[in-house]
Amino acid sequence: MDSQTIAVRQQEEIAHHEHDHPAYLRHHFETVEQQKEAASFGMWLFLLTEIMFFGGLFMAYLLYRNWYHDAFVSASNTIGIGLGTTNTAVLIVSSFTMAMGVYCAEKRNRRGLLVSLALTLVLGLVFLGIKSVEYHEKYVEHHIPGAGFSIEDFVHPHDKRDIPLSPDVAQHAQIFFFLYFAMTGMHALHMIIGVSILLVLIYRARQGAYTTGHTSTIDNFGLYWHFVDIVWIFLFPLLYLISRHPLH
């Protein structure tokens, strides 16, 4: 074999080598699977930190719910259940559309992916819209803690005659509403971040970024979106449903 043939062979090998490595494989990973696994493992870990982040608030909720049970139940009864339920449905449907997005990305269906992501975006915005209507209700009812908080609406939870709670007990409803705003606000913040990321994803998906076999980004965003949904699935019963007065 003369040197020219060897050189040609080597070039072929290099070309073959490059063919093996798609453009999205980062230089420090050996294989595509390794990159994919690392990305999804990293996302799961990040979600674990998010659980701990919300965990502090859930801890505070559990503690004060035990201490100020009557005030919490009474305050919880003042929240309208209709909007909350609608919002829960909206989020669950958005989780479905997101899952469809992941499926379409895997099937390399660019159109399907775009539709799913757009639907998810719209549903996310609807959720935030309804949430802001709810916040406005609280403002009208003077249920914003620390800002002219009114205790008039809080009645004894176990009595059918609507006896008002004594003022010192009713004051603790402030703690409920503070936790309500902190928890749903922190959740809404995560929704806003999710919606912003969705905008970027839709822009890139239009260029065909996620329908060429590299679906990690969509997969991981899907995980994030489902996580934010699940947080709401815990918030909804805790803030709206538990010990709701059956006869009111």
Partner: protein, 553 residues
């Protein structure tokens, strides 16, 4: 016997033509880098800066305590001094110290990877650190904060008009920087190991970083949400921690210490990893009881989550829970003792040499043992009631954090300096620095045990005159300690240009990082190594040397 350990001749070592240091020049090539080695250097520079800022505050505190009367600073200024000292040292130095510098540099190489799993996240982590630093320095410039590093409510939320929120924001951001470092380490350890690099072939340095990363990932978010609540309470007067509105300041303590107790293990575990490497290398032996030491790191991480309330024995937690937490606290001593005993057993019949990192490691073993054992004193309920909030506590955690962690940090920086820069530090000068640090440390903090036992409270800038002798000793020691820290700073900088060329394996160590050139190439490994030998395989090395001698003879 198969191995890839290379022992090149150190005399004719030269600096490699291409390395991560000369792959691209200019500020941009550093500030936008994804290379874990360059990010480690960025971290090294920034934490050194903050270390000396925090150290300056410590110096001022000791200077004030030279005399019983408040004559150097006013009491308000003194409060700010110890607060800023604590904040900077804990969040901007100790937490990122070993993991973000040495760990960032060698952990990917140790597992046989080209980089950490998420290089951009790693860079983001450094930028978050810088932002945190800017917040803290900003607070400092505009007048500082004086709530103590523990943000105790309701003091921090109701009674101070200093820059509490700015500092809290800084700590919040620094927390995310540490979360991202931890996340990167865990994913890298799981997914980026070279072929053949099984979990039980990993250097113990990786094990201890893995354990510390678990704590960073699980603990830090709780601190973040706690600080958010403190900030909201300060800004909007919301009463989650305010007893007048039905809130509970104890809840703050629980949430704060749920992070901040594990945080001390975040600080010490990476240091323990350094000590394992150094002790093994300079006694030319495999670490005794490798598996036990590896699992003791994980055990410390797990137990570390269940002892937080020992910071709260005098705060009104129930006697029953105090009893339980006291017992659990004693449990942490077990894995820590496993480490100390196993290092001692590693030294036994080893071929010990006294290079600088080894001197620091000896310092660590002695000082950490004292610090750890006094921790058991404080974990016992009766003793704690007497000793808490005194200088005994101050001495205890400085023995662990400064005597332990800082010694380990310096051991690590000296040990891997030849790998990082390709040049040796001056050996005799650095040995002098190690001994100076040790003497200075003992002189500074040992008298504080006695002071605390006699009843001198912490966080006061004046004290009864009978405590002066011990305080003068302590301040004198701090001066020596300061010199001990300045020396490495100076000779390390000097060695960047004038140090002897190190060659790839100056310590004749077995770790993967010593088998590549110093400084390493950007890609670390031109070809990913296949690992088919155990960690710390010094027996093989000894056999080879023996064999060589007989054939030459």
């Amino acid at each position: 016997m198969s191995t890839i350990v290379r022992l090149p001749n150190q005399q004719d070592a030269t600096l490699p033509k291409l390395s991560y240091l000369n792959n691209g020049y200019g500020l941009k090539s550093w500030l936008l880098t994804g290379d874990h080695k360059r990010i480690a250097i960025l971290y090294l520079i920034s934490i050194t800066l903050f270390f000396f800022v925090g150290g300056a505050f410590a110096g001022l505190i000791r200077l004030e305590l030279l005399t019983p009367m408040p004559d150097l600073v006013s009491s308000d200024t003194y409060n700010k001094l110890f607060t800023m000292h604590g904040i900077i040292m804990v969040f901007l130095f100790l937490v990122p110290s070993v993991p973000a510098t040495v760990g960032n540099f060698v952990l990917p190489i140790m597992v046989g990877a080209r980089d950490l799993a998420f290089p951009k996240v790693n860079l983001l982590s450094w930028y978050l650190y810088v932002v945190a630093g800017i917040f803290v320095v900003g607070a400092l410039i505009f007048g500082g904060a004086d709530m103590g590093w523990t943000f105790t409510t309701p003091l921090s939320t109701h009674y101070l008009n200093t820059h509490v929120i700015t500092v809290a924001l800084g700590v919040f951001v620094a927390g995310f920087s540490s979360i991202f470092t931890g996340l990167n380490f865990i994913v890298t350890t799981h997914r980026m190991r070279a072929p053949g690099m099984t979990w039980f072939r990993l250097p113990l340095f990786v094990w201890s970083h893995y354990a510390a990363s678990l704590l960073m990932v699980l603990g830090t978010p709780v601190l973040a949400i706690t600080l958010v609540l403190v900030a909201l309470e300060r800004l909007f007067g919301i009463g989650v921690f305010d007893p007048t509105k039905g809130g509970d300041p104890l809840l703050f303590q629980h949430l704060f210490w749920f992070y901040s107790h594990p945080a001390v293990y975040i600080m010490i575990l990476p240091g323990m990893g350094v000590i394992s490497e150094v002790i093994s290398t300079f006694s030319r032996k495999r670490v005794f009881g490798y598996t036990a030491v590896a699992f003791s790191s994980v055990a410390i991480a797990v137990f570390g989550f269940f002892v937080w309330a020992h910071h709260m024995f005098i705060m009104g937690v129930s006697n029953y829970s105090a009893l339980v937490f006291s017992l659990l606290t004693m449990l942490v001593a077990v894995p820590s003792a496993i480490k100390i005993f196993n290092w001692a057993a590693t030294l036994y019949k080893g071929s010990i040499t006294f290079e600088t990192p080894m001197l620091y490691a000896f310092g660590f073993m002695g000082l950490f043992t004292i610090g750890g054992l006094t921790g058991v004193f404080l974990g016992s309920l009766g003793m704690d009631i007497h000793l808490t909030e005194t200088y005994f506590i101050v001495a205890h955690f400085h023995f662990v954090m400064v005597g332990g962690m800082l010694m380990a940090y310096l051991a690590g920086v000296h040990f891997w300096w030849p790998k990082m820069t390709g040049r040796m530090y001056p050996e005799s000068l650095s040995r002098l620095a190690a001994v100076t640090t040790f003497i200075g440390f003992i002189l500074t903090f040992f008298p504080q045990f006695v002071l605390g036992y006699l009843g001198m409270p912490r966080r006061y800038h004046a004290y009864p005159p009978e405590f002066q002798v011990l305080n003068v000793l302590s301040t004198a020691g701090a001066t020596v300690l300061g010199i001990g820290y300045l020396m490495p700073m100076i000779y390390m900088t000097w060695s960047l240009k004038y140090g002897a060329i190190a060659g790839s394996n100056p310590w004749q160590a077995t770790g993967l990082e010593w088998q590549i050139q110093s400084p390493p190439p950007t890609e670390n490994f031109l070809e990913i190594p296949i690992v088919d030998y155990e960690a710390y395989d010094y027996e093989w090395l000894a056999n080879k040397t023996q064999h060589e001698v007989t054939t030459v003879g």
